[in-house]
């Protein structure tokens, strides 16, 4: 038992690290899956960043172009140019001219349109002078460098680049068209000269400008203003955000991967555009959020991905987990198998040891009797004829017992190896049984047991091995004599059932305990209790009997006899019946 426990402990110790390694492996796999998922998110985020950069660059370019165009306006034709621009350029929502601390255009009151009145209200803080136009511009921001840059830009956008001309190129993208819109202002011929004429020697060129993200009624608006000449008018435009959005979104790449979406969200959390087919719940939390640009404050692109989006990357985890499970199952089942084999071998070894000891004892007992009686007879000290007969009879009986034991051991070896050969012959089982009962009736009666015989009428002739059959019946009879000697009878029943001849050998002994009933045919098994420990035996009898019967196409089984006792049932098959 100690060894068995140590094997289980060893097995448990072996199992523990296996499970720990499996756990670690699974965790590593999960991490790897997370890494793959993260890379999918990163890929989407990079696309979002690319989109956000495109938006930023586009707006920046538009604003630079518009700013430059505003600087280029002839100051003498300012209002007309701005109005023309407002009427024709989709990028321009409103225009204004602020002069001498007051709004020159649009005019408050009836002369302005509803949109212009809203525009004035929207930027009231600026137009009423409560907030200066350059409130968010650092004094050093207008530098000589910027002026130089602005001059450079003047050169890079010739008058020939006009909206209509650009529209003729059909292959250019919507975004490019949008940028072209920002260059669309038309300079009146000769305006440069007029500009110079306008700028008197006392007027200092300052070229101040700024784009202001402006929040009104919780919505973003973008106002651009310029002041070209010191103390000159501040004028500018309000960008049409819907044009920007409408033109930008048609150019963005489509996202076709299922379960993924990029959503352009404004400062109030409204979905302004969605890329991708995934149905996004407005309350859903994005896996990543990317700010678009300082030019569109609080606007962002949210990255959404659901299980469908991860499905393509989950194959790795599924396959790896299956492989890991197979690996672990192989280890555990292998371990269990080895443990069982080890335990089985240990049990066999124990049973063999017990067998050798039993057989040695079994051999020694009759040999001792034979030797003792033979020596007595040899010394010729026994003169009584009856005693001599008794001694000789004992010698013969013990020799027979010895022979049967040796036969059993030899047969067991042959049966184990599958090398036992059967000599088939015609046997009349009823006569065969009567012969055995007659031969062993003295042994039975010596143990005060009554012989009951019930042989139904019929033809019991079969083709089988007589000696093997005899060995089977004798093994059962020996068992009955050994274990049921406290009983009153031994009953032999012979009858036919279908193709089988059924031979029952029953006794009214103590019977077989329930816990041993399923193992009585196992080799070397003995019921190790107070009763059997007094009885000699090798633990091979029933095992040999069962093997022989199976070899001969029959069977042997056991059933308890009520109220006590045991019945062994032999089913003999006629080989000719096949």
């Amino acid at each position: 038992m100690k060894t068995k426990r140590s094997i289980i402990v060893f097995w448990a110790l072996f199992l523990m690290p296996t499970l720990i390694i499996a756990g670690i492996a699974f965790k590593l796999l999960s991490h790897e899956q997370e890494r793959i998922n993260q890379s999918a998110i990163n890929a989407l985020s990079q696309r979002a960043e690319a989109i956000s950069q495109t938006i930023h660059i586009t707006i920046e370019t538009i604003q630079d172009n518009l700013k430059q165009s505003l600087f280029d306006i002839d100051q003498n034709d300012l209002a007309a140019t701005l109005l023309r621009w407002e009427g024709t350029n989709p990028l321009v929502r409103n225009v204004f001219i602020y002069k001498n601390q007051g709004l020159e255009y649009p005019v408050k009151g009836m002369e302005s349109t509803l949109e212009e009145r809203r525009f004035i209200t929207r930027y009231d803080a600026l137009f009423s002078g409560r907030v200066k136009f350059d409130f968010n511009i650092a004094p050093s921001k207008i530098s000589a460098k910027e002026l130089q840059k602005l001059k450079g830009l003047t050169g890079s956008y010739p008058d020939s680049v006009k909206y209509d001309a650009i529209e003729k190129k059909q292959t250019i993208s919507s975004r490019q068209k949008l940028v072209a819109l920002s260059k669309a202002i038309q300079k009146a011929p000769g305006s440069a000269q007029q500009d110079l004429a306008f700028k008197g020697p006392e007027q200092k060129l300052i070229n101040k400008s700024e784009w202001i993200p402006w929040f009104s009624e919780n919505r973003l608006h973008i106002l651009g203003w310029v002041q070209k000449i010191e103390k000159g008018p501040v004028y500018g435009i309000e960008l049409e955000l819907m044009t920007l959005l409408s033109r930008l979104i048609v150019d963005f790449p489509k996202i076709t991967e299922p379960g993924t979406a990029l959503v352009l969200i404004d400062g109030n959390g409204n979905f302004m555009h969605q890329f991708g087919t995934m149905v996004v719940d407005p309350e859903a939390k994005p896996v990543e959020v990317i700010s678009i640009s300082s030019l569109l404050p609080h606007w962002r692109i949210a990255v959404f991905i659901d299980d469908k989006g991860f499905a393509s990357t989950k194959g790795f985890l599924y396959i790896s987990t299956i492989l890991l499970a197979i690996f672990i199952a192989a280890i555990i089942s292998g371990g269990i198998l080895l443990t069982r084999l080890t335990l089985s071998n240990m049990k066999d070894a124990r049973q063999k040891t017990s067998f050798v000891s039993s057989v040695s004892h079994e051999l020694k007992t009759p040999l001792t009797s034979i030797r003792m009686y033979a020596e007595l007879l040899l010394s010729k000290r026994v003169k009584n004829e009856d005693k001599i007969q008794t001694y000789l009879s004992t010698i013969v009986n013990e020799s027979g017992r010895l022979t049967r034991l040796i036969n059993n051991v030899l047969d067991f070896g042959k049966l184990e190896q599958g090398s036992k050969k059967y000599q088939l012959e015609n046997v009349e089982i009823d006569r065969f049984l009567e012969q055995i009962i007659k031969t062993h009736s003295i042994r039975i009666k010596n143990q005060d047991l009554e012989i009951k015989t019930l042989i139904e009428k019929g033809d019991y002739r079969v083709k089988t091995d007589r000696d093997a059959m005899e060995q089977v019946v004798l093994n059962l009879l020996d068992n009955a004599l050994k274990y049921a000697d406290q009983g009153k009878f031994i009953e032999f029943v012979l009858k036919k059932e279908d193709v089988f001849i059924v031979l029952k050998i029953c006794d009214d002994g103590p019977g077989i305990p329930k816990e041993h009933q399923h193992r009585i045919f196992d080799k070397f098994h003995r019921i190790d209790n107070s009763l059997t420990s007094q009885q000699p035996g090798s633990g091979l009898g029933l095992s040999i009997a069962q093997q022989i019967m199976k070899d001969l196409g029959g069977d042997i089984s056991f059933e308890p006899l009520s109220p006590n006792g045991t019945c062994f049932i032999i089913r003999i098959k006629d080989h000719d019946a096949d």
């Binding site: 350029n89 009836m110 302005s112 068209k177 955000l241 044009t243 959005l245 033109r247 302004m272």
Partner: protein, 453 residues
């Protein structure tokens, strides 16, 4: 002020090309131009005004579009159908929309450009802008449209506009036909936002006609988009009416006789503009500017202006307005101008004044005021002031009835009756989705003199 002077100067320069016939007797100015040109008229609500103190009067500036000339190739159309294929369109609506789209396509000619954009959660251009000649291929594509998903209306219109822009430089009549049956839930969805999109598109001469199906779409959004881009607006309760609406709209689009129409009304210095009724326009000093994207053949469009006249003596005759209409003739691709001048005479005889009433002007003025009342009623109802909304509608109906009775005008009386019934219904059942859509659509159609309904 500098601004108005510059514009005034330009208007004067353009006068030499125009023939003006002025009818002083009727008080109506006629500008009969050569055949095929848009005729401009200015009428007042009364040709003889009461002498005495300063007063407000109504000017009706009417544009009579000529019939499309026979034997002249009509202007080519650049049409983009933007169809809602969200889940709610499933069933009859999408099937009828497809049938209507195919019907519309078959009416186009080889010179026309056709594109189809569908939108759900995303936007798909299923037929990129192309010549309408390849009918079978396009029809097969349209038949494959399946409904499902959300409603990215803004994206759909944007994509439709992108398809139109592929041929923007050519002399096409540019038109987007937007069909939707549900609330926009992806992209900008405020009526103002879509209005701004419409305002931007009109600058490219792209008009958006909106067709609302069922009672679940946002009529304010659709109305703003159509109004700001000078398109038409339709409301149909079920998909069954879609082929008829598509045909009606296409009838307009294929019948354009004037494009980029700009009306400039110049008032003498002593006459002040007070208000523009129903239309969006700009008042600059004594100038009033209005814009219409297109005029359809045989259509009458007008603008109503309230002006304030100075004190006048009995028997005096003064010039009260001059109207110049600049537009592009799509058949010749040339800019044309039509003008009219209106004079008014004053009398201290009330009978003479009453007799000179121009019922056409009075009727249109009242109907436009009624359209404004309908819009106000919607606003009141939206604020939960149902009773005030009903009161507004009833008051307007009563005014129509009173004036209709006074001048025995059947149209005004009929309109008054209809409005009374509708206001009673709203009073008993509340402002239903359907009632709201009818009011919004009718008021828009009235203000814009939408021909096809």
């Amino acid at each position: 002020m500098k601004l108005s002077k510059q514009y005034h100067g330009r208007t004067i320069i353009g006068f030499f090309a125009i023939t003006i016939i002025i009818s002083l007797i009727s008080g109506t100015a006629w500008a009969k131009l050569e055949h095929g040109k848009v005729i401009c008229r200015i009428e007042t609500d009364r040709s003889v005004l009461p002498a005495g103190d300063s007063q407000t009067t109504i000017l009706k500036i009417t544009l009579d579009a000529p019939a499309a000339p026979v034997n002249v190739k009509r202007p080519a159309v650049n049409l983009s159908l933007v169809l809602d294929q969200s889940g709610s369109m499933n069933g009859t609506k999408i099937e009828k929309a497809k049938a209507a789209a195919i019907e519309a396509l078959t009416r186009l000619g080889l010179q026309d450009i056709f594109s189809v954009v569908v939108y759900d959660t995303n936007v798909h251009t299923i037929v990129p802008a192309q010549n309408a000649g390849n009918i079978q291929g396009i029809i097969n594509t349209i038949r494959q449209i399946r409904a499902g998903g959300s409603t990215a209306l803004f994206g759909g219109v944007s994509q439709g506009a992108a398809e139109i822009r592929k041929n923007l430089e050519n002399d096409f009549v540019h038109r987007i036909m937007l069909l939707s049956d549900g609330l926009a839930n992806v992209g900008p969805r405020m009526p103002d936002d879509l209005g701004r999109l419409g305002a931007a598109l009109i600058k490219e001469n792209i008009s958006v006609t909106t067709i609302g199906v069922g009672t679940d779409y946002n009529e304010d959004l659709m109305a703003q988009l159509a109004q700001k881009s000078d398109g038409n607006i339709y409301f149909v309760e079920s998909g069954i009416d879609l082929p008829r609406i598509f045909a009606a709209e296409l009838g307009d689009v294929l019948n354009v006789v004037a494009k980029k129409v700009k009306i400039t009304i110049t008032l003498p210095d002593n006459i002040k503009p007070v208000n523009i009724i129903g239309r969006e326009g700009r008042i600059r000093g004594n100038k009033i500017e209005l814009y219409m994207n297109q005029l359809y053949g045989n259509q009458e469009k007008y603008a109503l202006i309230e002006v304030n006249l100075p004190e006048s003596k009995s028997g005096a005759k003064i010039k009260i307005a001059r109207a110049d209409v600049d537009y592009e003739n799509p058949f010749t691709q040339k800019q044309e101008r039509s003008s009219a001048v209106s004079y008014a005479s004053f009398s201290s005889n009330p009978k003479k004044v009453a007799k000179s009433t121009n019922i056409d002007v009075v009727r249109e003025y009242q109907l436009n005021l009624n359209a404004l009342s309908q819009e106000k009623a919607i606003e009141l109802s939206d604020k939960g002031k149902k009773q005030e909304a009903v009161k507004e509608l009833k008051q307007s109906a009563a005014r129509l009835k009173q004036i209709g009775t006074m001048y025995q005008d059947k149209e005004l009386l009929q309109k008054a009756d209809e409005q009374e019934v509708q206001s009673d219904m709203i009073e008993s059942e509340g402002m239903s989705k359907k009632s709201r859509k009818i009011l919004r659509t009718k008021s828009y159609q009235m203000k814009n003199q939408q021909l096809s309904q």
